[in-house]
Amino acid sequence: MTILKTTGVTKQFGGLVALSDVNVEVNENEIVGIIGPNGSGKSTFTNVVAGVYLPTSGKIEFCGQDITQKTTHEKCHAGISRTFQLMRPLIGLNMIQNIMVGAMFGKGHSLKEARKRSAELCKFLDLENVERPISAMTALEIKKMEIARALATEPKLLFLDEVMAGLNKDETMEMINTVRKIHSRGMTIVIIEHVMRVIRELTQRVVVLEWGKVLCEGTYEKVSCDQRVITAYLGEEAEC
């Protein structure tokens, strides 16, 4: 079943067309990868769908509901959640309190219930010592905490915007396993990534963006051998 459908989504910043006529569908319980060179509109797409920007034109449907004009928090309540390309912890709160924000305001849980659910999420994502301030956490922990904060809103669709950026090889492996674990709980995930290994390991379908347009779409194997994708993004050296 299709849960997210964008039809002709266009986003302009003044004269700059960041997204032009983007049609993407995401099916339930799928992991979709979005790849493309820098500036191709990957993050803008996330921002338009998850609500930070309103699209200039086009239509976004989520679970059969038109959410095009909804504000950020309304989209969160509808069931779309996301993490950010650059880490954005709430530094005035500690680890579990960060996650509680999602549980309380995304899902409307009481303080007590939010704490309980956040503690469960910490356990699920192997986050320990949950009362630590942000300053005492590693980059991997902060990234996981941000995923937990997004999951705490109990979304139907999760956007992961370059979660692997800045992680070393071992940490990347751990993060791949984490994403698998989240997916195995029945989550639908859209993952934006530059690391092709991550895309190969995780996704069932890949959308390639270039200059704000969908260049092509298909399985990893199909996309990575597509001559246009090789020219625009992967480079000649890439192996099929």
Binding site: L90, G92, L93, M104
Partner: protein, 307 residues
């Protein structure tokens, strides 16, 4: 540790309530001033916890003052009812105005709140029913100016403000405020209805400021638009006190208000005209050496001693 806190609060409260038995009229007047500034500093800090810097304290303070004066004079409200009118007027006006003003951020919001206060002042100064530039006199101050009773009213307002502040710190409002202050995009993406929380908090803190303004008028029995009721003092003093005491805490602004009011008053007696200079030096030194305020310093000490 937890019970100690409650015990200290209980003892402080008993001492504060029984104060009129032990001290004279002048120290009680002093205590009233402290409580006025304390409530203003604390309410200002409560809004700052959402990241919104307001210079509108004097505006809502004056608005409340005039509401008290007008309802007592024209409708014959009794003092407590007129105080309620002050809080409700300030809260309602803040909610209405906030509906458009709270779309602004940072300096723009700060400047507009300052301008709001000016607008209230200009209106009060030019209407006939508010007494124009001369202001108005209250027929009778509350409890006929009885020192102990008026002090208890002021104490009730101070305690109420502290309780509201603690509620703000212990409930989901704390999480909404902090997330809005830290990162609005993250807050909204996590489902926080930023605008709703800002309007609620702006209305509540303005209502407190209005209430205090009303109490001020009931204490001193007059309104006067230019130098007293909308005085810039009611903006600058509370902000300084909160800064010195420590932002984003309940007890910081309380400590700051007590300390600075006492220092200001005793300096005034010792070195007339020179007291402002000393006062300024204390401020500069405090802010330079204790950027987290007194509460920040205390917390740091606790951390070091725990390690």
């Amino acid at each position: 540790m937890k019970y100690w806190k409650y015990l200290i609060c209980a003892v402080l409260l008993i001492v504060a309530v029984s104060l009129p038995k032990f001290i004279g009229v002048y120290p009680l007047q002093m205590a009233n001033i402290i409580l006025i500034y304390m409530a203003l500093a604390l309410s200002w800090d409560m809004l700052l916890r959402t990241g919104q810097l307001s210079f509108g304290i004097a505006g809502f303070f004056g608005l409340g003052g005039y509401a008290t004066m007008l309802t007592s004079t024209y409708f014959g409200f009794n003092p407590l009812l007129s105080l309620m009118a002050a809080a409700i007027t300030a809260g309602l006006v803040a909610a209405l105005v906030g509906y458009s003003v709270l779309r602004l951020r940072a300096l723009y919001f700060a400047i507009v709140t300052l301008a709001l206060g000016e607008i209230f002042r200009v209106i009060a100064q030019n209407l006939e029913i508010t007494g124009g530039t001369e202001g108005m006199l209250l027929k009778q101050t509350m409890f006929k100016g009885d020192a102990a009773s008026t002090y208890w009213v002021m104490l009730a307002i101070g305690v109420l403000t502290i309780i509201i502040s603690i509620i703000f710190q212990k409930t989901r409002i704390h999480y909404a405020s902090t997330s809005i202050r830290n990162d609005e995009i993250v807050a909204a993406s996590s489902g926080v209805n930023i605008f709703k929380y800002l309007v609620i908090i702006f209305a509540v803190t303005s209502a407190i400021q209005g209430l205090v303004g009303g109490a001020y008028v009931q204490l001193y029995g007059f309104v006067e638009p230019t130098a007293t009721t909308f005085s810039i003092n009611f903006v600058l003093m509370p902000i300084t006190m909160a800064l010195l005491g420590g932002l984003y805490t309940t007890w910081g602004p309380v400590i700051g208000a007590v300390l600075l009011s006492v220092i200001a008053e005793s300096l005034k007696l010792r070195i007339p005209y020179g007291h402002l200079l000393v006062y300024g030096i204390i401020m500069v030194v405090g802010i330079l050496w204790f950027p987290g305020g007194i509460m920040g310093f205390i917390k740091k000490m606790f951390k070091i001693s725990n390690q």
